[in-house]
């Protein structure tokens, strides 16, 4: 049975060989009469004879546009709704110049290229690396990874290889989503590549319970991981102390940080972190339904770490012309005895477009912009937390400074977070993340997020709405 030939009448602006004249000329050059002869070396029992069971197409551009808008209309989005949901993807303002650059076809439709002829692109990536290093106050930053948790996973495995140990202490309060990713990444076949052990958090402050840390830290520990701010939004003020404890036990100290906080919060390297990981999304990324996630990893200028970094980085290097420089790839080999061959991680197309976006963001914000946005975020979040805490039955359980996010306990209201959020949607508000499944010990609690995009008026509107919902 011959395969169907329905494709022969199809004309597409994207597939120019559907123009008969061209197709015939090419077939003549190749020396075939029927286009299916191209597949003559595929065994007949592997040739699919039917038409694909997929929907009939919207062939004209207007119709596909209509089709898509009719589907996308069914999404609530931040132009119509007030968003108080973060958890790794918070709403921050995207500078127009950032969108301009990531929309440039030169960057958007390029792929890898070479270092010799693609200079502009590599300079942009270098400027990402360099500005991130300044933000992190560290020496080295390379290409981004798929997302924050992937960078964190990589940092954890680096720590296991450097120390030769497998036990890794992670906060019990850590982002459940991040930990799922880390858990799979550090698993193995005959044995796990890292054993993850949870360290409890203090019920009053939401911060790491140092007594529990002390108990669990030993000479078999490869690394101590904290998030700062942590998943509950709390600023881990004990950071320096935790770093000292880790160091004493011979463990690496890894901090998962929120980059938009680093204009006002100290860089992890300055309170003892060996490695800093996190997600670039908060540097002005659109919510993008989670499509703008990108991970970073900051490392010290020490071959111990650099020889373990799995991805590429761009370096300035001299050219054969005096005084001229260009950008080449950095691939640490010196004395590494094939450290990369030893390590079994992998590399692939990750998120360079978001590296370019982040470079533009950091340049356009500058040091003052980063400080001001951090300050605004903190002030607004403090305002929201204080106002919400005034509502009957509502508590903000953790005492201490926080950045951007904070836990709100609704248990005293008699309503579930699910019910409350459902009602808020009707009022065009997207409420905080429901924590009741992953953190049942917190009762009916939710993680609320307030950024520079939530005005005082919007927060007041939220409070009024909640008042009505809780009544």
């Amino acid at each position: 049975m011959a395969p169907k030939k329905t494709h022969e009448q199809f004309v597409s602006p994207y597939v120019p060989s559907t123009a008969k004249v061209s197709k015939e000329a090419m077939m003549k050059e190749i020396g075939i009469k029927d286009d299916m002869e191209l597949y003559r070396d595929i065994p007949d029992d592997l040739i699919y004879k039917e038409d694909l069971d997929i929907p009939a197409p919207y062939v004209d551009e207007f119709s596909i546009q209509q089709h898509m808008t009719s589907i996308l209309k069914k999404n609530a989005n931040a132009t119509d709704y007030a968003y108080f949901l973060g958890a790794g993807c918070a709403r921050h303002h995207t500078p127009a110049v950032c969108d301009e650059m990531t929309g440039r076809g030169e960057f958007l439709t390029a792929y890898f290229g070479a270092t010799t002829d693609d200079r502009g692109k590599w300079q942009a990536i270098w400027e990402y690396q360099a500005q991130m290093a300044e933000l992190l106050d560290t020496d080295f930053c390379g290409f981004p990874q798929y997302d924050g948790p992937w960078s964190l996973s990589h940092a954890i495995l680096i720590a296991t290889r450097i120390t030769g140990k497998r036990k890794v202490l992670v906060p019990a309060s850590a982002s459940p989503m991040n930990m799922k990713i880390v858990d799979n990444y550090t698993d193995g076949v005959t044995e796990r590549q890292a054993e993850l052990v949870e360290v409890a958090y203090d019920k009053k402050t939401g911060l790491l319970d140092l007594k529990d840390l002390e108990k669990k830290l030993d000479n078999k520990t490869a690394a101590v991981v904290i998030e700062n701010p942590n998943f509950f939004g709390m600023i881990e003020t004990q950071g320096e102390q935790i770093g000292k404890m880790a160091k004493k036990a011979g463990a690496e100290f890894i901090v998962y940080a929120d980059p938009i906080s680093l204009g006002v919060l100290e860089a992890p390297a300055n309170y003892g972190a060996n490695m800093a990981a996190g997600d670039l999304h908060s540097l002005g990324g659109h919510l993008a339904a989670g499509g703008h996630q990108a991970g970073f990893l900051g490392l010290p200028d020490d071959k111990k770490y650099l020889s373990q970094f799995k991805d590429l980085a761009v370096s300035i290097a001299p050219t054969i012309e005096d005084g001229e420089y260009s950008f080449v790839w950095y691939n640490f080999e010196e004395g590494s005895y094939g450290a990369r061959e030893e390590a079994n991680e992998f590399t692939g197309s990750a998120c360079n477009l978001w590296a370019i976006h982040s470079a533009v963001y950091l340049t356009i914000m500058g040091p003052k912009g980063m400080e001001e946005v951090g300050n605004t975020i903190m002030a607004r979040a403090q305002y929201a937390a204080a106002e919400l805490a005034k509502l009957p039955g509502v508590k903000v359980p953790f005492a201490g400074p926080f950045f951007k996010e904070f836990v709100v306990d609704f248990t005293g209201t008699g309503k579930t977070v699910a019910e409350i959020n459902r009602a808020l949607v009707d009022k065009k508000i997207i409420g905080g993340l429901d924590l009741s499944c992953d953190f049942p010990e917190l009762g009916q609690s939710a993680l609320w997020c307030v950024t520079e995009c939530n005005t005082q008026a919007e927060i007041d509107m939220l409070v009024a709405a909640l008042e009505a919902v809780l009544a």
């Binding site: 890898f112 070479a114 270092t115 010799t116 590429l312 790839w329 691939n331 080999e333 590494s336 005895y337 094939g338 061959e341 030893e342 079994n344 590399t347």
Partner: protein, 372 residues
């Protein structure tokens, strides 16, 4: 100013062109010359020097008279210093040896030679591994691993070698093939010695790819890995070759590059042993394994040239006890040729044929074909 030694074997490649295997033997040379065949060597050297012509001002060529290098060097416009003397038209292996020695004494940075395995052996006799060398292919027999891929590439390698502050050198195997036997289609490969050769492969192939592959690093790693995997009370026969030397280096033991060494419990049992010594020693251990590599450019694993690894030894060890240490580069260069075994025992050879796993790292193996 770089001092580059240049030695041309004037009769290299004659046999090949005339359809005769190799150019050794005055008889073969006379036959070919009589038939009007000329040597390829001068032309090939010319190509290599052309690739260096931009850097003429930085290079001084130290060479031997007339057809042994002077003519070609001057024709290419290089500053040329001529050492020694020859009988033009009647040059021999002794001239090559003398040339290499004189150049070493003159303090050259590198010796470039145009010739086949025979010439390589001569240079090896003269300088051993004391001076970096690189060969330009122009003979038929190139079983040794000391040659650049093409004369032009050789020029590039020479330039890159001179430029680099750190000279990356590797051991290039110089092969000793029984020419007579080879002409009768009977391949007997044997390792003659080593020359120090620039790590050309890495220089060329790292150019534009994101992944930096270093053969040297991989070999060090494999050495460490093989040592880690050594079991107690097992006798390890470490075969000849520079690849396997990384095992001995990692253990910090004396190594015989051309011979077979014995190791047990990570200590040296004996260096450079013969067949009888190996067999006797094996009786003292419950189990024996072999760590071997392929030699030369043709993939010889066990050849009749390895008299130490006799059929009875290999049979006792068993196919499962044979471990190959070879880099990704070596395997790629060898492909599509298989590993060759020629123990002298056809039944044993047949039993070894098939595929074998060659470790590339702790988590990666490549399977490679073994044939006879």
């Amino acid at each position: 100013m770089y001092k580059i030694g240049l030695i041309i074997n004037p009769v290299a490649g004659i046999g090949g062109r005339a359809g005769l295997k190799g150019s050794d033997g005055v008889e073969i040379q006379q036959k070919a010359l009589a038939a009007g065949f000329k040597s390829l060597a001068p032309e090939r050297v010319g190509l290599a020097l052309e690739a260096l012509s931009e850097f003429r001002d930085e290079i001084e060529i130290i060479t031997f008279p007339s057809e042994m290098g002077e003519d070609v060097a001057r024709a290419a416009g290089f500053k040329t210093t001529v050492l020694g003397s020859i009988q033009s038209g009647k040059t021999t292996a002794e001239d090559t040896i003398r040339a290499a020695q004189d150049m070493m004494d003159a303090g050259v940075d590198l010796i470039v030679f145009a010739g086949g395995d025979g010439t390589a052996r001569n240079i090896c006799t003269a300088v051993d591994d004391k001076v970096p060398t690189i060969g330009l292919p122009c003979g038929v027999k190139m079983h040794s691993s000391v040659y650049a891929i093409t004369p032009r590439r050789a020029g590039e390698v020479i330039k890159a070698f001179c430029d680099k502050e750190e000279k990356l050198l590797v051991d290039g195997e110089v092969m000793d093939l029984d020419e007579e036997a080879y002409r009768n289609e009977d391949v007997k490969a044997k390792l003659y010695g080593y020359l120090k050769v620039p790590e050309a492969g890495a220089l060329m192939q790292k150019r534009k790819t994101g992944s930096g592959y270093s053969q040297d690093n991989q070999l060090k790693l494999l050495g460490m890995m093989f040592v880690d995997r050594m079991e107690e009370d097992v006798l390890y026969i470490i075969g000849p070759g520079s690849s396997t030397s990384h095992v001995m280096k990692d253990l910090g033991l004396q190594n015989s590059l051309l011979g077979v060494d014995l190791v047990a419990n990570k200590k040296l049992v004996a260096n450079d042993v013969n067949e009888a010594q190996i067999w006797q020693t094996m009786q003292k251990y419950p189990k024996t394994e072999i760590i071997a590599t392929v030699i030369g450019g043709q993939g010889h694993l066990f050849g009749r040239g390895n008299q130490q690894l006799s059929p009875r030894i290999i049979r006792e060890v068993g196919k499962g006890g044979i471990h190959i240490l070879a880099s990704k580069q070596k395997l790629a260069d060898l492909y599509p040729n298989p590993f060759l075994v020629d123990t002298g025992d056809p039944e044993l050879d047949a039993s070894l044929c098939g595929y074998i796993r060659v470790p590339q790292s702790r988590t990666q193996d490549i399977t490679f074909k073994i044939d006879r």
